[in-house]
Symmetry: C2
């Protein structure tokens, strides 16, 4: 099946919403037990006594949830070729169990590869908000996508 989005479809300056996701308490704790078992992520009593005043999500769990929102809102229907990385990942405010997060993406830059003309690179900013419209996370990153028509001149 031909995907909807190729490199040409990511236009600099365009923004779009990526949907919402409930931060499930059990998933949050399970993620942290596996990958980030700091007490304020896994131990209710310790978290309550900490500067956070209660359990908070591992920042990596928030990144992972946003990745899933990317997948469901456009990436799985794109000619994605992976990513070389992300930058400026900022965990601005705690994400807590029961929060509902939403995310928005904005295309910052786009260029076709000189060495591999069948591929283009897109730089995106993602902004993540909670149910009170507080910014909880931002990051920027690069995605590689197939060019729809590689025969077009560079």
């Amino acid at each position: 099946m031909t995907p909807t989005y190729f490199w040409e479809d990511f236009k600099v300056g365009e923004s779009s919403e990526m949907g919402r996701r409930l931060v499930d308490r059990d998933e949050m704790i399970a993620f942290a037990q596996n990958f980030d078992p700091q007490s304020f992520h896994v131990d209710e009593a310790a978290a309550k006594a900490s500067m956070f005043g209660g359990l908070i999500a591992s920042g990596w769990h928030t990144c992972a949830m946003v990745m899933r929102m990317m997948c469901d809102s456009y990436l799985l229907d794109s000619a994605s070729l992976g990513s070389p990385g992300v930058e400026n990942v900022k965990w601005v405010k705690p994400v807590r169990p029961g929060d509902t997060i939403r995310a928005m993406r904005t295309v910052l830059e786009s260029r076709r590869s000189g060495s591999r003309p069948g591929m283009g690179i897109v730089k995106t900013r993602w902004e993540v908000f909670n149910q009170s419209d507080e910014l909880v996370m931002t990051m920027e990153g690069y995605g590689l996508f197939k060019v729809r028509d590689p025969a077009t001149a560079l």
Copy 2:
């Protein structure tokens, strides 16, 4: 129990090894099914036909594994107060099932908070290698730690 590592114990320029971790195929696929179900992360046949030539780990799974290596090698025995973010996350080479990754941390910068003298911030670089000593990932990030003796002059 008093942790071993406070802000004062992270010395600029110091490096240390953070141990090793086997990249478990089932864990890798489960992570991707939950958070990054792109075909080259979850579908053996599709991955084989892709530019990657086989299944590769979600970059976020690699980050999560490295986070766990941080926790086990020093963070759980530190006066950690969380992290405001990371930057320059570079997924340099694919990580594959059955790989054994190892990581090294180097302290890049350290300063005590002016506004909150009981806290210090440490900037660290992490480098991740596979069993062939190929660099597979690098990132830099910030950690907040309690100062051991907040009564000392700023």
